[in-house]
């Protein structure tokens, strides 16, 4: 129903180019995610002190997740304001839940 009118070949070409550009970013993102994973596993296998390892691997995980959300799932593109709001609200509720269950539950 929408863009039937502006269906010129040029436009298609332009889209393709843009998609290709995006795809490069994606591959780069993927490479970094693999690298992060390697670092995380490496730290644990090397037996670095847990005081250091645990915060670092948690941060690496968080960054990886942001990569997934912003690049692979395109949250960096326009039209994602509401999804971003909801995901962050979800993350807020999620952090509260995890904090509660991992701290004030005793035993």
């Amino acid at each position: 129903m929408a863009d039937n009118t502006n269906s010129t070949n040029e436009k298609q070409q332009f889209y393709r180019k843009k998609h290709k550009e995006e795809m490069k970013h994606h591959v780069l993102t993927f490479a970094m995610m693999i690298a992060f994973t390697l670092i995380a596993f490496g730290l644990v296998i090397a037996g670095v002190s847990p005081m250091f390892t645990i915060p670092v691997i948690l941060i690496l995980a968080a960054v990886q997740v942001l990569f997934q959300l912003y690049y692979f799932m395109h949250m960096n593109q326009e039209g994602h304001e509401m999804p971003a709001l909801m995901i962050y609200s979800g993350i807020f509720a999620a952090i509260l839940t995890v904090l509660a269950l991992s701290t004030i539950v005793w035993w």
């Binding site: 979800g90 807020f92 509720a93 509260l96 269950l101 539950v105």
Partner: protein, 618 residues
Amino acid sequence: MSATVKKAGFGATLWEYLTTVDHKKIGILYLVAGMFFFILGGLEAMLIRIQLIKPDNDFISAQFYNEVLTMHGTTMIFLAAMPLIFALMNAVVPLQIGARDVAFPFVNSLGFWLFFFGGVMLNVSWFVTGAPDAGWTAYAPLSIFSEGHGVDFYAIGLQISGFGTLMGGINFIVTIVNMRAPGMTYMRMPLFTWTAFIASVLILFAFPALTVGLFLLTFDRLFGANFFDPSMGGNVIIWEHLFWIFGHPEVYILILPAFGVFSEVVPTFAKKRLFGYSSMVFATVLIAFLGFMVWAHHMFTVGLGPIANSIFAVATMAIAVPTGIKIFNWLFTLWGGSIRLTSPMVFALGFIPTFTIGGMTGVMLGSAAADFQYHDSYFVVAHFHYVIVGGVVLGLFAGIIYWWPKMFGTMLNEKLNHWFFWLFFIGFHLTFFVQHFLGLMGMPRRYWIFLEDQGLDFFNLISTIGAFFMAAGTILFLYNVVVTQAKGVKVSGDPWDARTLEWAIPSPPPFYNFKQEPLVRGLDPLWIEKTEGDGKIKPAEPLGDIHMPNNSFVPFMMSLGLFIAGFGVMFQGSYWILAVIGFAITAGSMLYRSFKDDLGYHVHKEDLEDEKGDGSNG
């Protein structure tokens, strides 16, 4: 399609309702099912009050009493209040934002049928090994040790109806985000739509915690998991956290739409725009936000320690601020208005002092140290009934009566409504006001009997008498409904002289709602057109074909499948076959749905031109 079945037989009507994806019809389904469960929960309440009419009563047995109190709470919250709120949301929200339908008509129908089958499943337990008996909170390990299958029905039934609620919630968020009419900006949305929106967001983030909690409970009971079994390293406090992480936002899921109803009713019958609209919106959002950070005030006596208790105590008290803002905004909407005491307005006016008391006791309960006395006593029972009945139920009745003409095209008898209000309102205060004192006098909640010589006899008697008043009021309301529908006198599109978009179209609205998308020029669009224009909403588009979704029987089948599978999972052994059949029905329905293109149909321009759709209703 639905337009053609105007004078159809019973079978055709039934089929229409079983397959409908029209939000207005789904609203009616929710209303009927919700009222049915409301009456069921009310009967359970009467059993409780009759048992407590005098000390040492032996009207019902201890075990049965626990089943009744569990089912009363569960039914009222999940099977009465929730669906009635969805009834209003379905009936009103798309009309208020000028949408032809909800975002996912199919999912909307699926949501209803899941809720319905979940509710039926819960109540089937009465006839099979007994109802759940561990309280609506189902605290582990009591719920783990509970014999029979009662708690299994609770876990699986709520799981199924919880999925329905979650889908309904997502549906409304998307509807409100994506489907507003031209000019209907966020800050022009009626307050009921706003509260429906925020409540849906709360559903989205609160129900998953319940889903997980119920999963753990089910797995503990049926598959030998050890989450809540202390002897196997389980931790019973996890359940309490998960339950209340869901449970506290749930309270706001219920009360916010009720606030929304009052924010519609009060301006309409005070003939004045809502005072402090933007602060009302802000307060709603703030309540929702804070509502996620206070759940542990249900757990002050659990032994979380003074630090956690203090944090949650202060956070809880903070909620009183936005709630107070709302109360004063309503009062100042009335200030300087021209107040008509119609029945919805009387409910709204009855709500204000009642809810103020509920809010006050809420702050008292939030005071952690003092809560050591209030907790799990009748004081708490009184408090949450002041909030849930005095807030939610009064709001629901105000909303049902207010939008009844829009839903059914008829007008409930005003005189009977006033009688209903006074019986219910007086009965309510008789029942619950004295319970504050009962609690402080040493009566814990969920007590099957209380003993003589404890000074508790008199107030309990008063409380029971009050309950009968409430029952009488409810019966009167049902009578009113039957008489009104039997007479079937039609009303105009705008019988209350109201302000918002839904009143600009006929009552009941045509199945496509708006012939042309309306153009919204401000807050209270109909009022603007009445005072500044010719009283008619301007269209935002020329008359054209309207795209409508097809009816579908698939939602019913998918829900039925889960319902059947639930029994198989519960009884196991040779009953596993039921699980296989049930899941096959559900999965098959899903595949059918995804393999068959459902593109809907069109209402043609020419057909629309014949029909009037300007609110004059012929």
